[in-house]
Amino acid sequence: MEFDKKSLLKLGKLARISISDDKLNNLSKDLNSILEFVDQLKEIKTDQVDPTSNSLNQKLEVRDDKVDTKNGAEDILENAPEKEMDFFVVPKVIE
């Protein structure tokens, strides 16, 4: 798979990361080499194998429906760069 500059800019946009022009070339080269490496996996014949979403041979751990309130609003907001009236404050989002 070819990872061109257009795809790279789109990916950057989706992740809200700005990519400056001078970094475009190197970044797309890096990503391409990763994809090339991953492409090697395609050489393995898998049509007889069930899809694997996880390689661990374990069952999913579950927990009971019990409430635990370790943190209050003050604790969780302590990490917020901006806060007001118990809310996180972020730049205006317009729908």
Binding site: K10, L14, A15, R16, S53, N54, L56, Q58, K59, L60, E61, V62, R63, D64, D65, K66, V67, D68, T69, K70, N71, G72, A73, I76, L77, N79, E82, E84, M85, D86, F87, F88, V89, V90, P91, K92, V93, I94, E95
Partner: protein
Amino acid sequence: MVAQMIEGWNLVIGIEIHAQVNSKSKLFSSSPTDFGSKPNSQVSLIDAAMPGMLPVINKFCIEQAVKSGIGLNAKINKISIFDRKNYFYQDLPQGYQISQYKDPIVGEGFVEIETENGQKKIGVERLHLEQDAGKSLHDQDPNFTFVDLNRSGIALMEIVSKPDMSSPEEAVEYVRKVRSILRYLGTCDGNMEQGSLRADVNVSVNKPGNELGTRCEIKNLNSFKFIHAAIVYEAKRQIKLIEQGESVNQETRLFNTQSGETRSMRSKEDAHDYRYFPDPDLLPLTLDDDWIKGLQESIPELPDQIKERFINEYSLSSYDANIIVSDKATSEYFEDVVKNRNPKLVTTWVTGELFSILNKKNLIIEDSPITSKQLGELVDNIENGKISNRQAKEVLEEMCESGKGALEIIDEKGLSQISDENEIESLVDNVLNSNPENVKKYKNGKDKLFGFFVGEAMKLSKGKANPKIVNDLIKKKLSQ
């Protein structure tokens, strides 16, 4: 009116319902799920997506999803997988929502709804578990958006229908039916005002025989009224565009509850690319046959089954049965009252008088000022002829105001109806004897005077005489 506007066009409607699982704690964390708490007071380090935090799934939520699947006549998938749905938004601290993509916990099923043309099967495509997002407030400050993460991470069941509905009414019936099933199962409280159940509606229009049209999705409708109004508006909008020679853009739209209009929410170039992949923090969810069987056996009687039983056991009409079973509390109330009583009478009093009182007072049946036992007592007094229907209405209103029992009010007001034939006969004789002229006219063919005699007899009894007996006796005497 709707039918007129849309005449000559097919409507194709599919619905995604987001139903909040009735759990105490969140899907992957132990934070509480209470509604209306102080902002950000129910947020754990997992919900806030602090580095290194790992999700551990709530067993109860898995059970509720499977139960709901059984209630929707759906296939339960013994292996399902949690995926990351990636997008960047301020109400989603993880940067991805944990959801299920290719392998949901519940597969295809169906529900049956009542339509103008009888029963209709609406297909269910799937049900999957996912996290809810936080809540953004855009109107608190001109320059900033405020975020409350209390809802973030609460377990939702997303129920996706097939595009099987073809009118706003069918769409509303479908959501009603799913909500009712979930409430009977107890897997979701169905509270639409608090957002425990909300619907995204996909609408497209096409001319019969033509290809399907382009669909638009209207997000986050939280009442039956809005679902109906949004579909009507959207269908008309699309028809108008096509008739003007323009085309419909596939897009997500928001419904403005004030104006009743929909507007575009995200432009096409920003179309989301979610880059789903299996969440490496969570192993596949595997369900055991015996465990599923155990849940199947725990499923209570559901609305369709109760409806059938009511029709067979109490000879209710399909229409009445439908009204009564649509709500779990109503069907329980009805069943309490109807035991050993006349079903027809009980149906009239529950769906007629009681409902009108509840409507007037804007109450749900759980908060009814008249208990099922009290209504039963009232019905008993109608059945044994102690009071007439008209008097019973008066008594019911008084019961509502004073909280007193039916008998107490009947005694206090001296309301009891006279059903003693001898007593009524003497009243009737009295009326006929004091109106010999009218009796003569009646016998000469002036039939209309019959009502006059009944009226006089009732007046004489101060409205207490059993009207049926009065009627019968007057008829008998006049034909002698």
